[in-house]
Symmetry: C2
Subunit: 337 residues, 2 copies
Amino acid sequence: MATIHDVARAAGVSISTVSYALSGKRSIADSTRRRVADAAVSLGYQPHAGARMLAGTRTQIFALTAPLRHDTYAPAHMAFVLAVATAARRHDYDILLLTEDEATKGLSRVASSRLVDGVIVLDVSVRDERIALVQNLGVPTVVIGIPDDPAGLACVDLDFEAATRLAIDGLADRGHRRMALLGHPDEIYERGSNFPIRVRDTFLSHTADLGLPGRFSTSETDSGAVRAALDALLAGDERPTALIMHCQESVQATVLDHLRDRKISVPEDMSIISVGSTFDTTKFSPALDVIPLIPAATCDAAVDILVASLPDPPDPRVQYVAPEYRANGSVAPVPAP
Amino acid sequence: MATIHDVARAAGVSISTVSYALSGKRSIADSTRRRVADAAVSLGYQPHAGARMLAGTRTQIFALTAPLRHDTYAPAHMAFVLAVATAARRHDYDILLLTEDEATKGLSRVASSRLVDGVIVLDVSVRDERIALVQNLGVPTVVIGIPDDPAGLACVDLDFEAATRLAIDGLADRGHRRMALLGHPDEIYERGSNFPIRVRDTFLSHTADLGLPGRFSTSETDSGAVRAALDALLAGDERPTALIMHCQESVQATVLDHLRDRKISVPEDMSIISVGSTFDTTKFSPALDVIPLIPAATCDAAVDILVASLPDPPDPRVQYVAPEYRANGSVAPVPAP
DNA sequence: CTGAAAGCGCTTACAG
DNA sequence: CTGAAAGCGCTTACAG
């Protein structure tokens, strides 16, 4: 393997000139820069990662702590992991993956051995031991999601509150007054990520603010439970004319199956908006209006904040990513009674 | 941050003694070892990762290349990524995650900058550009899955052939003669991982060897397609009495729903075995007999092979992980005509 | 059983 | 615009 000395010799310059020519950290004569670049390419020179870490101030590695809980929805989780890795690469950073059993021990290890320049915390839960840890370690950190107490932290997340209001307002504008929200399994609200709670609470408060009745139900993910939950949500005289769904893909598919079975047409009899979804709602039949959760949007913002602050920790802040409405034809004016 | 010099001073020894005491690479007096260990703990000493990489011969990092194709089944994929990380940690290795757009460029980068000691290739496809690359780079590599041409490679995978025969033989022993296999979507067979093909081909050849008719069908994953595929598989006079499923979780759930709708009882009217599944088939109703694909088993073997060979590439070989039958009550003797 | 020292391959003040 | 040199914090022959 070629070293910086080999490149220096080939280009006829000193190793410091090679270093500066390649990093651009001081001005170099064009002809020199070219010779160095040519020599580096023809020798297939790649700087030694360990030497850089030792001599320099950066490792170009971030740790990503992404615990898989038993109720984690794998496709969304994967999408976020990938989006973080992709965003990091744009800034020349690699991702070191820390798994659950390593959630704390691993964080200490990689931070204090200076293997990583920063930490990205994924899928933060309401009370998350990783938070106190990174604060103690003093390692620059950005959190994707918002814990109960975000004090002192840099957090990034979709503005689920705004997304929920956007859905409700859009339906209200079309004359809908009776809306329902179908959410995740109970367990998710009891001790999980906090965004389902934010959607639920915003749904209840914002419908109330508008003087509208708001029905909410959780649902387990199996098809029987979904059908039962939906039946309960639609029971009684004052049947909702609009449904907001914040739940996983298979549940939303089952809802559409069940509405079809019950001869409830979308959007003629029932308008539907899918909120905070990471999957493609145009593949459903019918395609659903959606206010998506876009992993790349959130993760790009998170990585940008982290990179910008290095080598210091980022300033504490909660950055909300603005929601975006995508109409796909599943919302219509409220049907005449 | 404490360095090795701080530990040496605190323990009243030289830095080489600290290094050896901590690594155990040469014999050290018990009392010295204890003093060094105490000093290291009380100072919170963690060796500098970059310094180790530069001075030593190992980085204690493996690259994991785990591309997410659009037909990747995320839960299984996640399970494998996690199993690799967990297995690596047992040998004091961390995992650097390489995503798809980095599948080749990233591999070259981390290998030639000597960031990683080895590479683990996940979800290898039939023809995979990553294979030629790692062979060229000369970086120690182990492949999870088996490409078309495994020559020169160390590969690890569940013995899907044996698993399929095990399923067929188990059914044949109970008197079943008409068996069907429900597989993945077509696309998977056309250009994907090779194990679905191995299951399909073994199913067809082994039933033929036994002189039994074997029906095979692919299926898309949406509920309508699954029901149609199943109906086709069960059509005609000679209805199969046993079904082997090698497809994703939601498809298997739909199959059970559909059999229930058609009043076909499991196992009384129809015996079922789930093959190569990564999910929990005891959660279905009824619970299904399964020959599971256990990510930990495969990944442990892969990491063991890689670690054992370092710093050299492992010897070329294809290591098959033996299948294991788990009875859960979904197989019964063939019903009387 | 232990120590003094070379050296891994870079980055970055310090000098000119 | 460029170079000589110190130094990052380890590991590991070399010596005793």
